[in-house]
């Protein structure tokens, strides 16, 4: 029960003022600039963009600063800002096959066209804290290799060429891509909508679910066919022009998971797939998403839903951290009246029980 309560204005105003002070911290320490956040905490900015479902590095960095580094608060801020803007339309689908890659690795093929490109990765670091970063660290310029890059072939095309893997996911011809920011959720949910939900889903939640499939709660026998990260063009059809213009480039991370094969009397066995695509550089999220995408296709492959990661309604309804935090955190708001009612009930029950203990006659109905 919700009851309007007045009062506390001064306390709230002062709390916000105190928050601003604590956010700023010691005034003798220089204030962070948005550019510093974008340049030096880029992966935090990327995560906020991915889960806020809004690509804008400056606004995401501002949100991180305003939220004092609380990622979910920053995501919430950016989601709220998003609702103030009109939507001009929908882009053409980005073409990850034409990505300007900054990283590309495959765990299924050692030698593949384009090669293994490690890019800026934490992999193979020793995870030792680096005290040189305590100061204004001097960093070398990156190494250059003059012969540049070869064309980077998609691993799914290598397997697809032999028919060993299912094709890229195709919805029925008359299917219009759904948008869960416009229409209420309904289950069962088509795969395109599930991918939209997962792409903005909480990284930690998806990571845990992906992990659970590996530990046996709905195994899918995954191999990383390919992970690629880099820049893709966003093209948009402008009303009045008969060509699509490029609005610029965005950075995305894509994961192609190759999963357990499936065959039947009619079809020879072939590998199945899970897909992950995320704004910014976030391999962990893209991998988790592809594991969960595959797990959510359980019924499509005629398998039984036995594990949490395979339960569409459970996964999709709980993967959004802004919704989740709203409902969990609302518990701290005043529930004075509900609680008074409960308190009253408990007191009456106790009084009744105490009465019985003193030997009052039992009511027949009990």
């Amino acid at each position: 029960m919700y009851v309007a309560v007045k009062g506390g204005e001064t306390a709230i105003a002062n709390a916000h003022r105190l928050l601003a002070d604590r956010r700023r911290g010691d005034r003798s320490v220089p204030s962070l600039t948005i550019e510093q956040l974008i340049q030096q905490l880029g992966l935090a900015v990327d995560r906020v963009m991915a889960e806020a479902s809004l690509y804008d590095t400056s606004l995401a960095a501002l949100a991180v600063k305003q939220a004092r580094g609380d990622m979910i608060e920053a995501i919430f801020l950016l989601r709220a800002y998003r609702t103030t803007l009109p939507r001009f339309g929908t882009s053409l689908p980005i073409e990850t096959g034409r990505m300007r890659v900054e990283r590309r690795v495959s765990a299924t093929y050692k030698d593949l066209p384009g090669g293994q490109l490690l890019g800026p990765t934490f992999d193979y670091t020793h995870r030792l804290l680096d005290p040189t970063l305590l100061g204004d660290d001097i960093v070398e310029q990156p190494a250059n290799r003059e012969d540049g890059l070869e064309a980077v072939m998609r691993v799914s095309d290598i397997l697809g060429g032999e028919g060993l893997i299912e094709p890229d996911g195709n919805m029925p011809d008359d299917h219009v891509a759904g948008d869960l920011t416009r229409e209420p959720m309904e289950f069962p949910m088509p795969r395109d909508l599930r991918l939209q939900a997962l792409a903005r889903g909480d990284e930690g939640f998806l990571l845990a679910l992906g992990y659970s499939t590996q530990r046996g709660y709905g195994r899918t026998h995954p191999f990383v066919g390919e992970i690629r990260m880099g820049l893709v063009e966003v093209e948009f059809e402008v009303p009045g022009l008969d060509f699509a213009v490029s609005l610029g480039e965005i950075r995305v991370t894509e994961c192609q998971m190759v999963n357990q094969f499936k065959g039947s009397a009619k079809a020879p066995p072939q590998f199945t797939r899970g897909y992950g695509l995320v704004f910014g550089q976030s391999e962990r999220k893209a991998m988790s998403m592809s594991l969960v995408d595959r797990a959510l296709r359980t019924e499509e492959f005629g398998e039984d839903v036995i594990a949490p990661a395979q339960d569409e309604e459970f996964v999709i309804s709980h993967c959004d951290n802004v919704q989740a935090t709203g409902f969990v955190e609302h518990l701290k708001l005043p529930h004075y009246v509900d609680f008074q009612a409960e308190l009253d009930l408990v007191r009456r029950m106790r009084a009744k029980q105490a009465g019985r203990a003193q030997g009052e006659p039992r009511e027949a109905a009990e």
Partner: protein, 202 residues
């Protein structure tokens, strides 16, 4: 190219304030069915789209609202104007349309071909914007229902023939049903699905 460019002119001079003022007029008129409102922003929609109809289009239509245009409007500069200013998709399927526009004298398709919304989402129905010759001076129609204290009388000139008959069918669908905005030049009045219309015997 030149003809194309014409279609880009004539939008709201001040998109934010103008659309707010038209929205306010529409809201008031929808809340008080039969009340005549006037849109003031200086816009120049491509003929035969009227000024009030154009203002409604600029205010309410956007990327999320498929729009159906009458055959005459489809052939006119309205298509490009709608696309440039509103970014709204044009649809040929009347049931998909959130808004439908008809110029004065256009043949009126049966209301039942448009979306009446669903029982769960009655708001997903089509709103018809119909241009008439004038909002007054025609045969008197009495309006009653929510938003009307006793009776409001209107006298539109050039209402499509089957309108009154079809309106009875539309009212029977409640809470589903279409809503209508009648426009004439700068003036408009609203007939939400809740309004009962009775022809006054002469």
């Amino acid at each position: 190219m030149q003809s194309k460019n014409q279609s880009l002119a004539g939008g709201f001079p001040d998109a934010v304030l103008n659309s707010q003022s038209v929205f306010r007029t529409l809201m008031d008129c929808m809340a008080r069915p039969g009340t005549v409102g006037t849109v003031s922003p200086g816009i120049a929609p491509p003929a035969p789209l009227g000024i009030a109809a154009g203002a409604v289009m600029l205010t309410l239509c956007d990327n999320d609202t498929p729009v159906w245009l009458s055959p005459e409007l489809t052939k006119s500069g309205t298509t490009a104007w709608l696309s440039f200013h509103c970014g709204a998709p044009l649809t040929r399927e009347k049931t998909e349309a959130r808004f439908a526009f008809l110029e004065a004298g256009a043949a009126m398709p049966p209301f039942s071909l448009f979306s009446a919304g669903s029982q769960d989402y009655p708001d997903r129905s089509t709103t018809l914007v119909i241009e008439v010759i004038s909002l007054d001076g025609g045969p008197s129609l009495n309006l009653t229902g929510p938003g009307i204290r006793d009776i409001t009388t209107i006298g539109p000139v050039g209402l499509p023939d089957p309108f009154l008959h079809q309106w009875i069918g539309n009212r029977a669908l409640f809470p589903r049903g279409i809503d209508v905005v009648l426009t004439a030049g700068r003036a408009l009045l609203c007939l939400p699905r809740t309004t009962k219309i009775t022809a006054v015997e002469a």
